[in-house]
């Protein structure tokens, strides 16, 4: 009988897991343990509306009053310092330990730090609300900003910084922005759009030195260039937060190793979200760092903890807003394959599909959210389709989804 479940991490994964446990009828204790001192909130706005000052507070993750009504014991600021995998004991920073029948590790990921010298004032990272508030305050009194790393967060923040009137340069170590997240061809388009709104971009360059002395004033690049910078944002990726899991003896590689139900090597312990290396459809198990995948993994892992395990390998699903464009992606897009571009019939948006051996295995939509809803279902179904038909805007995606539902 399971009567006590501890969820470590009160972000998206932890909170959705708590909701799923209650939705599935579990009525035992749920500890939802955070370390930010605030109620669970929605993170995507931290690089956009909240950072821009358009939205004072990020949206809450649950309806107001739900935590109390559902009898979830939220511990927003008493971090877990150790887990005992064998007996389920959890040790907190303060107060007595707690013994749980099941433990979900949903500790997310930490920003990768710049591998040079000591940090200095004016150097920022962006993972949580406190980071966003501090960066927003710094941006209000700054004129120049260097964004180190041209991934999703870097490109989103650069967009916001331009809105606020800062002079912004993105420095990317590889030869294209967003290559890992969206593939080089979408990355190239985004770079053009960023340039169009006034963001300068430098590729094939790393930051070799921060120029201070105490507060950053400029950065020096590996190619010798010196860029003035009142603020530096370091957005060079994230590392799954696996410290607790490692100390508990759980195997980790690109995250805590779990099966497609969220189970770790310990029968009591599960993991979901950015902390977990979850199996991916047609790909290598990894931390996916996306909202929708975290949400799905949390629900799957919550059910697994109750004994209703249903293996759910992940189809990566992501969205972003860069230089005013709404971009959505599904499936595998970064490995080579045949790319089919399909313009929306209304001429506003477009979707690129990736075909592998005649099957749809990935898509990226730009300013085409209505079409993306259908396109991602073609990816889920791995529909076998002729490239010419797919590219033709007169072929209805709705009809293709129906065809896929019939077994394509």
């Amino acid at each position: 009988m399971i009567g006590a479940i501890a969820i470590i991490g009160a972000g998206l994964g932890g909170t959705r897991a708590a909701q799923t446990l209650r939705a599935e009828g579990y009525d035992g204790r749920i500890l939802l343990i955070g370390d930010e001192g605030v109620a669970p909130y929605d993170r995507p706005s931290l690089s956009k509306a909240v950072l821009a000052g358009e939205l004072e507070h990020p949206l809450p993750l649950v309806e107001s009053g739900w935590i109390e009504e559902a009898g979830v014991e939220l511990l927003p600021s008493n971090p877990v310092v150790d887990i005992d995998a064998a007996e389920g004991w959890i040790a907190f920073q303060r107060g007595p330990a707690f013994q749980a029948d099941r433990i979900l590790i949903a500790t997310g990921a930490q920003a990768r730090t710049l591998p040079i010298g000591p940090s200095m004032d004016g150097v920022h990272y962006l993972r949580n609300l406190a980071d966003s508030r501090s960066l927003a305050a710094a941006m209000r009194s700054a004129e120049t900003m260097v964004v180190v790393g041209g991934g999703l967060i870097g490109c989103e923040v650069a967009t916001t910084a331009r809105k606020l009137g800062l002079s912004v340069t993105i420095v990317e170590a590889s030869d294209e922005l967003l290559a890992r997240a969206l593939g080089p061809s979408i990355g190239r388009q985004c770079r053009t759009w960023l340039n169009d709104v006034g963001v300068a971009t430098i590729t094939d360059a790393a930051v070799s030195r921060l120029i201070g002395p105490n507060r950053v004033e400029a950065v020096e690049l590996s190619n010798g260039l010196i860029l003035p910078a009142d603020i530096v944002l370091v957005s060079i990726g994230a590392e799954p937060e696996v410290g607790l899991a490692r100390r508990a003896g759980l195997p980790c590689q690109n995250g805590i190793i779990v099966d497609a139900t969220g189970a770790t090597s310990s029968p009591r312990i599960f993991a979901a979200g950015d902390a977990a290396a979850w199996p991916v459809r047609n790909g290598v198990a990894r931390s996916l760092e996306t909202y929708l995948n975290t949400q799905e993994q949390a629900a799957v892992a919550a059910r697994s903890m109750l004994g209703f395990a249903r293996p759910t390998p992940q189809l990566p699903l992501a969205w972003t807003e860069i230089a005013g464009r709404h971009i959505q992606a599904a499936g595998q897009f970064t490995s080579p394959g045949e790319i089919i571009l399909r313009n929306d019939a209304d001429g506003r948006g477009a979707i690129s599909f990736r075909l592998q051996e005649g099957r749809v295995v990935g898509c990226v939509a730009i300013a085409a959210p209505g079409s993306f809803a259908f396109a991602r279902r073609l990816v889920e179904a791995e529909l076998r389709i002729d490239a010419t038909a797919l590219a033709d805007p007169n072929t209805s995606l709705r009809d293709l989804v129906r065809m896929a539902a019939r077994g394509g």
Partner: protein, 107 residues
Amino acid sequence: MAFTHICMTSDIAVGEGLRIEHEEPVALFNVDGTFLAVQDKCTHGDWSLAEGYVDGDMVECTLHMAKFCLRTGKVCAPPATQPLKLYPVRIEGNNVLVDLSAGAVAA
């Protein structure tokens, strides 16, 4: 109660929606021949639902994939947490009428 003529039943195909511009825009859907009207603004991300993906009697917001029941307005999938307002619909012959002033969250 003031019902306004919106369109003909044949104007919205099964599984599709129509945005009605109004002070508070309304989205009208054809769910397997039943016409249902809800507020045309996702309660999570301030986004139109009229172009949303209709699956049975649910609509999925195209922005962040929250799902709502079109019959009850209730949230079926996060990230939304608040229900949608519903609007009364009346069919007269082949005409679809909606009371654009009577939007309300179901009890």
